[in-house]
Amino acid sequence: MQQDSTKIPFWRDIRVLKVLFQVIFIIGIILLALFFYMNMLNGLERQGIELSLDFLMSEAGFELSEGIDFDSSDTNLKAFWVGVVNTLRVSIIGIFCATIVGFLFGIARLSSNWLISKTAAVYVEIFRNTPLVLQILFWYPLILTLPKVRESINFFDSIFINRRGVYLPSAVPADGFNTWRWYLLSGIIIAIIVVLGLAAYRYFFQDRELHETDRPSFVSNIILGAKWVAAPIFLTAAIVGWFLTPEVSFVLSKPELQGFNFVGGINFSPEFTAMLIGLTVYTSAFIAEVVRAGIQSVVKGQREAARSVGLKESQVLRLVVIPQAIPVIVPPLTSQYLNLAKNSSLGTFIAYTDLYAIAEIINGKTDQSVPIFAIIMASYLILSLTTSAFMNWYNRRITRFGSSS
């Protein structure tokens, strides 16, 4: 056998061919990339553009009102950072809201009440089958029909809603904050030490007696500890620190009308609100379907069996249906979360200065489109990969628990 294969000429040897084929393939890809690269150099030269990253450090020259503090004398790099923060802000809050609304409508679709289930079905079909851009372009002007600044909807003189946004009171760090945060920090350090110690003790001494397959992992010990030990320690530190600090740590900042606009408190701009509503409504329609499919995947017999052993309806849902539905729900839910984060790039349609909108603004004044494109691609990739890594970790965790129960 061994001798036969040595007699085969190398160009007919499958192992050699495999390697050769891959080499050709890689060379082809490299050549293609080289081709584009040379074209690009040529094209940029003809346009009189010099490829450089200097623009990142140069003065932005424009102003932004959404998100963290930014001034026209700040750098373009900071403008990108503002965009990243805005993208994250609307994505995270959007994911949170869309999950709640989506679960509500998913469960409503399975309601025994005809009116409720049909309404939920109509909601899902309408928002799932129209483009998100259109929905956002519809919500935004609708929000702008709210009362004018001077005629704001007013709740207890502290919450104001008008066409410039939603204004909420906020807590602003005051004199005592500097002292108080040392208590917080020490609380965190103590909590970490205690939890690590307890986990190590359990892992190395107590759990040894258990059989290998039943032995909880070190990480799950830490999670358990974080819940039952660290949180109470941290809270105690925070409360004790609060009373021991002589000055006030926080003052309440209420929105107040000054000149054209309200000042103080937290402000959700109409652009943010429209994006949030759009992303929430659109994604929740998809999540509702995911949830419905998940619950329906739990076979009827499970529910009947649970009832027959005397569980109440709420217990049937909580103890039998949901634990089995969650592993089915999580993977498609992950891809919906990713879609939501990616869809937040539609902010450019309504002046929500997310990452993409900022990139567009900078591109308009610097002409460094190649590095700008690379930056937005990389940022979105990092965002997506982090989200999916987190959700994969979560999925592994629950499926492990699901299978052991």
Binding site: L31, F35, N42, G43, R46, L64, S72, Y140, P141, K148
Partner: protein, 338 residues
């Protein structure tokens, strides 16, 4: 293996041969347009009066008419033009890569764009300036009173940079809201999302007409920048830039000498310069690489500058202002046809 080597070497050869070959292509856009039998002109997608899609699905406006004028001069037919709507971000790329032959899209002549961007400007067709529009009810007279206001602006243009510069030099604090397209901007302004909106005054005037109650808004009597708007051609193509420039001059010249769309065909004159203009004598067309009666065709197609202005910009309420012939105290000054 041999096949593989052959392919690789062929590819390398192809790349090394083709790239310089194509890059060294020096055919003038003028010849390209003639060979193609069609002019490709970049315009604004939705700016009433200047470049917009009419109800009949045809591109209309002041800028579009200049595109038609160039087509009439080069090809003798104002309809042999294809309009490409472009946004602020992609307009220069489109010109530089040759996707469009000429860009007539409210583009301000600035030093960097002229010298650094590999583009050449033809004479401005419209002298504009950046201003502010505010609701009358706010009772604002000067920029200083805009302190603390939210100001709407479109991104990717000189407008937002001018705004930031001006406000910083005056030490005024304000909140900008940067829209990527002007429709959302003005709808937002109309709905009271922003206190003021800043843009070229021509745009403010054009857009004020669209607001729910145009009379409730005023355009402040301040101008924070010079905005000479004109056609652009690719850098270094002098032949083409000359042709475009002289089409613009032809419209100025015709207005100076009262040559109109109506009377151009039967214009009787003994003035030798007008005779040269109409192609009745001289070699003007040949020198430019255009047909003999190119200027006449321009006027037949779109009329003189005044007529183009009246057809497109007067209806939206724009006054002539400084966009008048120099003989009437304006800035339009045609170079001599000699």
């Amino acid at each position: 293996m041999r096949k593989f080597l052959f392919r690789v070497s062929a590819l390398v050869l192809a790349i090394s041969l083709v790239t310089p070959l194509l890059a060294d292509n020096h055919e003038s856009v003028l010849d390209k347009v003639k060979n193609r039998g069609k002019l490709v002109c970049g315009v604004h997608g939705g700016l009433p009066g200047f470049g917009y899609l009419g109800e009949d699905g045809k591109w209309s406006g002041f800028d579009a008419d200049f595109g038609r004028a160039i087509a009439a001069a080069v090809l003798g037919d104002p309809d042999k033009v294809e309009f490409v709507p472009l946004n602020a971000a992609e307009r220069f790329t489109a010109l530089q890569t040759g996707e469009i032959d000429v860009l007539i899209r409210n583009t301000t002549w600035t030093l960097t764009r002229d010298a650094d961007l590999n583009t050449d400007f033809a004479p401005p067709t419209f002298y504009d300036g950046q201003g502010f529009m505010v609701p009358k009810s706010l009772n604002i007279k000067s920029i200083k009173e805009l302190a603390g206001a939210t100001i709407g602006v479109t991104g990717g243009s000189t407008t937002e940079l001018n705004l930031a510069d001006t406000m910083r030099s005056l030490g005024i604090d304000f909140k900008p809201l940067t829209y990527s397209d002007i429709d959302t901007l003005y709808n937002g302004y109309d709905a009271g999302r922003v206190d003021a909106v800043t843009s070229d005054k021509s745009q403010l005037v054009a857009r004020r007409k669209n607001l729910k109650n145009p009379d409730d808004h005023v355009i402040l009597d301040v101008t924070i920048s010079k905005e000479p708007l004109g056609p652009l051609t690719i850098h270094g193509d002098n032949k083409w830039n000359d042709a475009v420039s002289w089409v613009v001059y032809a419209t100025f010249f015709a207005e100076e000498h009262k040559i109109t769309q109506e009377n151009v065909k039967s214009f009787e004159t003994e003035n030798p310069e007008i005779k040269r203009f109409l192609g009745e004598s001289g070699e003007m067309g040949k020198i430019l690489g255009l047909p003999k009666d190119w200027a006449k065709q321009v006027i037949i197609a779109v009329g003189n500058y005044g007529e183009i202005f009246e057809r497109n910009l007067t209806p939206i309420g724009l006054p002539r202002g400084i966009n008048k012939p120099w003989t009437e105290g304006g800035l339009l000054y045609s170079m001599p046809f000699r």
